[in-house]
Amino acid sequence: MIRRFLMAATIASIGALVAACGGGSDASGSADSASAASIEAKARRRTTPIATPTTPTAPLAPVTAVPTGRLLASNCFQCHGTNGRSSGGFDTLAGESISEIVGELREMQTKAEEDKGIMRVHALGYTDAQIQALAAYFASQPR
């Protein structure tokens, strides 16, 4: 009984958020059907075609390019923080220069195996071009 109320309340609030983002109907509360309907109405208002994996179609708004090296750099966020901004763990990488990052990774590649650090393995796991790309991403991030 209580669980259903909570879910209805949650769904009602979601319906409210969704409807209001689109310019909005009244979010008053009852029922799964009112909020589900508002979620569905918003979906129908959308007119931009959604791309399929093999035939991407041109969207109706200006498109921004994906920053160079971002997906590669995101491998590092788990230890060095989202976008390279550390919260008290390993070093912050955001805002370091390309030459600093490339230099550090090159140095880690040459560590003796008996040093056996995790970073040695990670530094050895990228091509030179990939290292340049991920370094460019971190260099472009604000400190």
């Binding site: 909570l6 879910m7 309340a9 949650t10 769904i11 609030s13 979601i14 409210a16 958020l17 969704v18 209001a20 983002c21 979010a27 799964d32 589900a36 979906a43 959308r46 931009t48 959604i50 791309a51 399929t52 994996p53 991407p56 041109a58 969207p59 708004a61 498109v63 921004t64 994906v66 971002r70 997906l71 590669l72 491998n75 966020f77 788990q78 230890c79 060095h80 923080g81 989202t82 976008n83 901004r85 550390s86 919260s87 008290g88 763990g89 090159r106 590649q109 040459t110 008996e114 056996k116 995790i118 040695r120 393995v121 990670h122 050895l124 796991g125 990228y126 091509t127 030179d128 990939q130």
Partner: protein, 463 residues
């Protein structure tokens, strides 16, 4: 557009109140950096994410960060938060708590504008691009499934007694029960028996890590106790060097390791424990255990914890063709986008997916990023990244104060269309080196790094 904060105030709700819950918000991510959601990158659409674990939470966050505000993200989970499996062995040994490992979805809501529905997805309807949350339909343009795993039952145990044979491989009530049983072991020494299923299973080094931590705790708290490890695999599946040294070194008088051995039947004791009958097994190409005949029997066990065979979350079984990997247990995917090889517009990430990568939280976070990048590119009419890189990394505590680690780098191989462990070509420095490794020793420095890695990983995922 009205500010989110004003919305919530108008509704008389705080962000935290949106999903009423009694899970304590104790997972520590309070000082984490909050990246901004761009106003518009040209991507539009609604993505529904099923499951708020490591993969689901990460994909939700990064769809917003890399897609922008017009990319609507709806995250659906049955609970108000995620309890981390990483570090959960410390709940068994008493140095961490469940509430300390709990990460709610509050920050995903307030920091990135992700809509969160607390509910169980009961049905997926690809024909109408809808998921059912009970009787409520939620439509999607793209669907990302990250439901995690369901587990086979403890063999031979009646349903009414299943709760006394916890795998505790999905952190929560079973973890509490397993700790209760550990504490109830006799002071004169008892037997803790655990079983490891055939690979692929969640967290390859995890079971061996658990064996070490349990053995360490028992040596200090219930001396004379034994840990029996039954492993369906032919040998230690991860960090073989480290765990062999641990099993043969500090734990030589405590741990008994039996490879190629699987539980055939448990004859229950009182409130857990009992007798275990086994099969000698080999593992077939799909990861199923095939019996070669009866193996040894083990009597007088105080605790029996079988980590049983795993499969993708059962909601996926309702979609014909979706579970097309490992003999119908997991979903095969295109690892450039994590789209199902069987159904369009449905992506599968995390433990439910079949890939060459291990099933683990750290790499699930990375799969989610590759997926989010691919979906937002497709929404903008761009090609997906043709050369993603992922890495697996894991620190393994070997005792209460020291840890080892393992890591591997995966690059996309366009011939096999899989993620392959990277081997450096001849013209690079250190040519021919495979980019993977394990720690040479377990140390307190590694243990300290483990804490940093865990805090930062959970912040990147939930904060």
């Amino acid at each position: 557009m009205i500010e989110r904060r004003d919305f919530l105030r108008a509704l008389g709700l705080s962000a935290a109140g949106l999903a009423a819950s009694r899970i304590a918000t104790a997972g520590s991510t309070s000082t984490a950096y909050v990246a901004p959601v761009p106003a518009d990158t040209g991507a539009r659409g609604r993505v529904v994410v099923v499951g708020g674990g490591m993969a689901g939470a990460t994909v939700a966050k990064y769809l917003r960060l890399w897609g922008g505000k017009p990319v609507e993200v709806v995250l659906i989970d049955v609970a108000s938060g995620y309890v981390s499996n990483i570090m959960s062995n410390f709940v068994l040994t008493g140095t961490r708590t469940l509430s300390g490992l709990t990460y709610t979805y509050d920050k995903l809501k307030t920091n990135y504008g992700i809509s969160v529905i607390k509910g169980m997805v009961t049905e997926i309807r690809p024909g109408t691009k809808t998921v059912m949350v009970g009787t409520t339909p939620v439509t999607y343009d793209r669907l990302v499934l990250a439901p995690g795993l369901d587990f086979a039952k403890a063999p031979g145990v009646p349903d009414a007694l299943q709760g006394y044979y916890p795998h505790a491989w999905k952190t929560g009530a079973q973890t509490t029960e397993l700790r209760r049983q550990l504490l109830a072991m006799p002071s004169t020494g008892g037997t803790f028996l655990m079983a490891i299923p055939a690979a692929p299973y969640r967290c390859p080094p995890g079971p061996y890590e658990r064996a070490c931590l349990i053995a360490d705790w028992l040596q200090r708290n219930r001396p004379q106790s034994k840990v029996i490890v039954l492993d369906a695999n032919p040998g230690i599946t991860a960090e073989a060097h480290t765990f062999t040294a641990a099993f043969n070194g500090p734990y030589a008088n405590t741990i008994q390791y039996h490879p190629n051995t699987a539980i055939r039947e448990i004859i229950p004791g009182v409130k857990g424990g009992g007798t275990v009958l086994t099969d000698t097994v080999y593992v077939d190409a799909n990861g199923f255990e095939v019996s070669l005949g009866a193996g040894p029997s083990f009597t007088g066990n105080n605790v029996i914890s079988p980590i049983t065979r795993q499969r993708a979350g059962d909601v996926m079984a309702g979609v014909p063709g979706l579970l097309n990997g490992n003999g119908g247990r997991f979903a095969a995917v295109d690892v450039l986008s994590y789209q199902s090889t069987a159904l369009p517009d449905i992506h599968v990430i995390g433990d439910a997916a079949k890939t060459t990568q291990p099933k683990a939280g750290h790499i699930a976070n990375q799969e989610a990023k590759v997926c989010a990048d691919a979906i937002t590119r497709l929404m903008r009419g761009q090609e997906v990244d043709p050369a993603p890189v992922t890495n697996s990394a894991c620190y393994s505590p070997i005792n209460a104060t020291q840890a080892s680690w393992l890591t591997a780098m995966f690059q996309y191989d366009p011939v096999s269309r899989t993620m392959k462990k990277y081997v450096r070509p001849l013209d690079a420095s250190a040519p021919g080196v495979i980019a993977e490794g394990e720690a040479g020793a377990w140390t307190s420095d590694n243990f300290e790094e483990m804490g940093k890695w865990f805090r930062q990983l959970m912040a990147d995922t939930y904060a």
